[in-house]
């Protein structure tokens, strides 16, 4: 994927003072040893995404960043999370972080291994998936996503992987979580190709389409980036709710192709705990494949 790779920049809890609410905002983070721990933007993003999964039951895991976020969630906020992989696994308990979503470690010890027909027909289209966790190359303010091409479809500037299961996950999962690094190239006013529908042109059109076409999903509910957390407001548009420690509001705005709506008081995302960082660094991604 040509997903832009952010250069690892480290933040510290002390730098949380650069957040929108000044130093006091750091107080929303866990106190104690974490305050002295450094962490990268990618680690903050993965931790924030994992925490969003608290209380969720069945999660369909996409390739790339979602893979590490859900595996962290299962070890922290959502121990009962059932991981569904499009390769045909329900109830995976991977012993190592799989590089691909078809790794043998997701098979050994799983609840069920089924054909892809069964996975997509009965589990996903049948309505059993609570959260579809996706990434993309481009996203717009309504959470519509592109993972197909940059430029014209017939003569693309960059040929991306395409839908895979993303298009049907966006339509049939009860809700969609998005994790991606933000930049002017990825957060765009207009996506070049709609691979996975979000809130279309706004909440009203999206609600009508979902009703008339019998979608099971409510669409996107959260976007977690390397700088911030967005949820979707009643108009179906992304709303900036939380800025990660180390990031500034200016940085968030400069890396978006539109002026974001904002919560009355955007908060500062609580810093990663030592345990969350330990899990990422020692258990999930010791080689730094996802967090570099």
């Amino acid at each position: 994927m040509s997903e832009p790779r952010a250069v690892a920049e480290t933040g510290t809890a002390a730098a949380a003072g650069t957040g929108p609410q000044g130093p006091a905002a750091a107080g929303t983070g866990p106190q104690g040893p974490a305050a002295a721990t450094t962490f990268s933007k990618s680690e903050m993003m993965i931790v924030a995404a994992a925490r969003e999964l608290a209380g969720q039951r069945v999660c369909f895991v996409g390739v790339g960043l979602p893979n590490i976020a859900v595996n962290l969630a299962r070890r922290t906020v959502a121990p009962n999370l059932e991981l569904v992989y499009e390769s045909g696994v329900f109830g995976a308990i991977p012993a190592r972080l799989p590089l691909s979503i078809g790794d043998p470690t997701i098979v050994t010890g799983a609840t069920a291994v089924v054909s892809m027909f069964e996975l997509f027909s009965f589990y996903l289209q049948g309505g059993l998936v609570d959260v579809g966790f996706l990434g993309a190359a481009q996203i717009d303010r309504f959470g519509n996503m592109n993972s197909t091409v940059i430029g014209d479809y017939e003569h693309p500037k960059t040929r991306l992987p395409g839908s895979g299961g993303a298009c049907e996950i966006a339509i049939n999962a009860r809700q969609v979580f998005v994790i991606m690094r933000q930049s002017k190239r990825s957060f765009v006013a207009e996506i070049d190709f709609r691979t996975s529908p979000g809130n279309l042109g706004g909440a009203e059109t999206a609600a009508r389409a979902r009703r008339e076409q019998g979608w099971l999903g409510r669409g996107p509910s959260v976007v977690v980036t390397d700088l911030a957390i967005f949820h979707f407001d009643e108009t179906g548009e992304m709303r900036l709710d939380s800025i990660h420690p180390g990031a500034t509001l200016d940085q968030v705005r400069e890396t978006m192709g539109w002026e974001p709506k904002m919560a009355d008081r955007p908060v500062t995302t609580p810093t990663p705990t030592p345990e969350e960082l330990r899990l990422i660094r020692e258990e999930l991604d010791p080689e730094g494949a996802y967090t570099k």
């Binding site: 994927m1 040509s2 390739v63 790339g64 893979n67 499009e86 390769s87 045909g88 696994v89 799989p98 590089l99 691909s100 979503i101 078809g102 790794d103 043998p104 098979v107 050994t108 010890g109 291994v113 089924v114 054909s115 892809m116 027909f117 997509f120 027909s121 996903l124 289209q125 197909t148 479809y153 003569h155 693309p156 500037k157 960059t158 040929r159 991306l160 992987p161 395409g162 839908s163 895979g164 299961g165 993303a166 298009c167 049907e168 339509i171 049939n172 190709f193 709609r194 691979t195 996975s196 529908p197 279309l200 389409a209 076409q213 019998g214 979608w215 494949a289």
Partner: protein, 310 residues
Amino acid sequence: MSKVRSMRDAVADLVHDGDVVAIEGFTHLICFAAGHEIIRQRKRDLTLARLTPDLIYDQMVAAGTARKLVFSWLGNPGVGGLHAIRRRVEDAVPAGEDPAPLELEEYSHFGMVGRYTAGASNLPFFPLRSYFETDLPKANPLIRPIRSPFGDETVYAVPPLKPDVTVVHAQRADAHGNTQMWGLLGCQKEAAFAAKRVIVVVEDLVDEMVIRADPNRTVIPGLIVDAVVVEPFGAHPSYVQGAYDRDNHFYRDWDAIAREAVTTQAWLEEWVYGVSGRAEYVEKLGADRVSSLRPSGEAPSGSVDYGVYR
């Protein structure tokens, strides 16, 4: 009657220029040995179908075997793009010159699974609740809306896919082609039943009684199989559950190899044209590399009792 053949004979007899070929297997059980033999025999103008073209089709495209890809996710999982294919798409130049443009026909995963399912079941289409409000039906006019005959709901339909040849890799089969596999099943069964001809490639050839002792594990019956090829390590750098791991290092290495046409061709010279077949490839890979890919421990399934009923 035994269907056991050499890879060379199976490919020579069953894969023809211009065929629609599906080497299936979702991450797991991708038969690189068959793909490499197709390259060595310089088959041409193939339409290559797979959900995820993966490294095997990047190599086959780079070698000039293909004119068209039918797929749903075009990438190197966890690593990046498929550069040889991208060169034929992004830098396409007029036909006849190199690199010639590659035709793409794309679906979503469920769409591809549905296409094989319709092909295997002799149905004119497969209906699914995908593609709503996306640009995919515009990009591929074979994805079409269809009205339910039982109400006013509209869903999308995709056409059947019936490969001329499907290649399936598996843990074991008997000489008749009765094939058992475990781990990720992808849509190997659907792709095999949809095909006119089927080549099964296995790690182990077993006695018919081994198959009959565990009939629930049989995914493909010998009835639809034309050739059985015994090719240990034939899926590398893909993997075989319980036998060897995915060679993730090679998947990462390929990213650098495939970035330039010249390094890609040099790799093909060394590892495909430069060896006579899979046995020589495995020897070249070396015992250390092979043993490093063995599972770190055993995880046997329990056994079940089918019972005797006379």
